[in-house]
Assembly symmetry: C2
Homo-oligomer: 422 residues x 2
């Protein structure tokens, strides 16, 4: 789709990658295991909630007050009720309340038939001479408002209404809501399986001491953590050396996943064999090369085969380049695959001037802060795409366009949070 | 610590709870399993990085240029080097470069001794007549800057420097950095084990159809998700009925954890036996009752026994109250126990007027949004602490003080993000 010479902009590259993404199938999972996943369909309210009137406070459910006899003097400021029952949560009231009767009642308990309202216990007084089987309670008239402190049947949710729409990312509050309505399993887009394949003769496992000329593989464990953070399932492959056979074997394994992340082996070096092997395995190139720094050698392709597909990202080998390409391109694609429908660009206020050098868009590690209602971005000193130390002080990136050249403190810039803000 | 009558403010209650928190022991975990945990000690750089000079680009490592013979005419704008070797990443250079010599080199490869700089391949030209064993490369003089495109030994990190300080919460970028420096296991504060115990005769499992008067247990799966989101390990206990024996058995189990979260059974109802059982089991009350809405009946206590302790939170039974108390009190305590040292209050701009009714601090579900550099809080209509549906549209809470009464649109208010922003 792209000529070999011209480099795409970051926006063009992102659009191409997103267009190639396919939303994952729906599957039913246990509610307790759904955190972070997205609903694949609307969920409707199965039954009115609450099913019947419930008390919202500890107190007394009271019926209409008894008729006042004509012979009584001035109207009393309180009504007195005979307490005929105690209703606790979980039990069914045994009595229908009649005029002048009340039931002691606990929060959440069913309100007896005949009750006009619930009066909180702190609004009532129990006569001092009260004792034995028949209790009495006095309530000032002002607290006898019809339906007060009653959670009436159907007031929380009506059968057939949309409880949660498709696309909702399930969080603790949704789990509570769905549990309340009796959803034991819910339909969500399944997790993306993402294979991670590091390439390069120079790589050793991070627990080893590298011989001269070699370095530890830092990208694979980083990508593993990035994938887990976005809810994907990482499948870690054995590192492939710079030989066609070694690469082909591991790439074939990786292409069985929904996504294959390669790190290293995609720039123009003579041993960068990855694009060749991908081509031979039937992967169609979507893009190769983005006008950005770091991350210029990014490769994106797709294998479409027997009704399924694997999206392939060839990430640069330098750690910060790999980190940046993941956050800029892979994360939004994974979110789209997981059922996220909207992409919101995050913007922050720059805390100091920044000069873009060169003709590529710069992804600069920044410290994002939320302070007094503002999101600010502090560009960090950062020496090269090998400089993980500076990048590890960051919690996001700012995107500086090369056309702009100079950015001033106080300007708004596009940013990406590595912690999922926004 | 608190009189039975007076209610604490939210701030007082939070301070008391935090004071009772004890930071978890350190333990070594595999680097790949450390995401989200916090370093228990400073980690120092074990060896200079890189160990030796490395090429930052694909190109040529070139030595000093050969002396120009007096007999030559005008100084040439290019220098020509004899290519004596190819060095790829992972291999050790075999030759020491002498004047007029160069080595073809790949990104990340060791720079041969005698090299003055690395010249990117796109800055060079290979003579057309070049062929056979001895290759030659021409480099314009302007690209012969000493040390350019060389990542020199020790330039990324110096042995003994602090690589990451104690308290760092491990994210993907830290995992990459630590892998690069060879940390296979790292010392972190261990995860908090938190038992969850729902109480109440009226509760049935959320997969069941509740008989009349009963409701599904929504708090337990919600708390499970909230605990997991903050990195704690939930231990789900069997629901306890409203009997002393049932409560005592489950509470004894729960007190073996680092934290015990009880939900339900802490208000003033006649069947609210939880405080009694806790007292009998040796739990000292820290506070009971907070001047807030929802969440007034919150109980916090501690069991100190044989050199260990269990912090006990009695959360109200209403789902939104329980949610709010977790986010306001339990989450900061768990973070403190996990080694977080600073608590930062988050503030947002209110999008519309809000009136506080009553004399308690109001925790109102809000929709937090990050838009154009601003964090805004939109208070949601919310009917009661049983109204999970409205709360499930929220992603945070705003804290409104009762003394203030009226809040205006555009004002700054304290907020809490349920998604970990800030």
């Amino acid at each position: 789709m792209v000529g070999a010479g011209g480099l795409l902009t970051v926006q063009q590259a992102l659009q191409l990658a997103l267009q190639a993404a396919v939303v994952m199938d729906a599957e039913d999972v246990l509610l307790e295991q759904a955190a972070g996943l997205r609903l694949a369909t609307d969920l409707l309210v199965p039954q009115d909630l609450p099913a019947a009137d419930r008390a919202m406070m500890d107190g007394f459910a009271v019926a209409e007050r008894a008729a006042v006899a004509d012979s009584e003097p001035a109207p009393s400021p309180v009504a007195v009720f005979a307490v005929v029952e105690t209703v606790t949560a979980g039990m069914v009231p045994q009595r229908v309340l009649e005029c002048g009767q009340a039931a002691r009642i606990m929060t959440g308990a069913l309100v007896p038939t005949g009750a006009r309202c619930v009066v909180p216990v702190e609004r009532t007084s129990l006569p001092a001479d009260d004792g034995g089987a028949v209790e009495r309670v006095s309530v000032p008239l002002e607290f006898l408002k019809a339906q007060s402190h009653i959670l009436s049947a159907g007031s929380l949710a009506r059968r057939g209404d949309v409880l949660l729409p498709a696309g909702t990312q399930i969080r603790a509050q949704h789990i509570a809501l769905l549990a309340e309505h009796g959803f034991a399993r819910i339909p969500v887009h399944r997790r993306v399986e993402a294979a991670v394949l590091a390439t390069g003769n120079e790589l050793v496992h991070h627990s080893e001491t590298p011989p001269p000329g070699c370095i530890r593989n830092s990208n694979a464990p980083m990508l593993q953590a990035q994938l887990a953070a976005v809810g994907a399932v990482p499948r870690m492959l054995r590192t492939a050396g710079d030989s066609l056979e070694s690469l082909r074997r591991q790439i074939q394994l990786g292409l069985r996943a929904d996504v294959l992340l390669l790190t290293g082996g995609v720039s123009a070096g003579i041993l960068d064999l990855v694009p060749q092997v991908l081509r031979e395995e039937g992967v169609q190139q979507i893009l190769h090369g983005v006008r950005m720094k770091p991350g210029k050698p990014l490769f994106v392709g797709v294998l479409r085969q027997s009704g399924r597909q694997c999206l392939v990202f060839g990430l640069p080998g330098n750690p910060v380049s790999s980190l940046a390409c993941f956050e800029l391109f892979v994360r939004p694609v994974l979110e789209r695959m997981g059922g996220r429908t909207s992409l919101t660009a995050l913007r922050a206020v720059l805390t100091r001037n920044f000069t873009v050098r060169g003709d590529r868009t710069v992804c600069q590690p920044v410290q994002l802060r939320l302070s007094e209602g503002h999101l600010t971005a502090e560009p960090l000193a950062w020496n090269s795409s090998a400089d993980l130390k500076s990048a590890s002080d960051a919690n996001g990136m700012a995107i500086f366009e090369s056309e702009r050249g100079e950015y001033g403190a106080g300007e708004m810039v596009q940013v990406i949070s590595w912690d999922g803000w926004g």
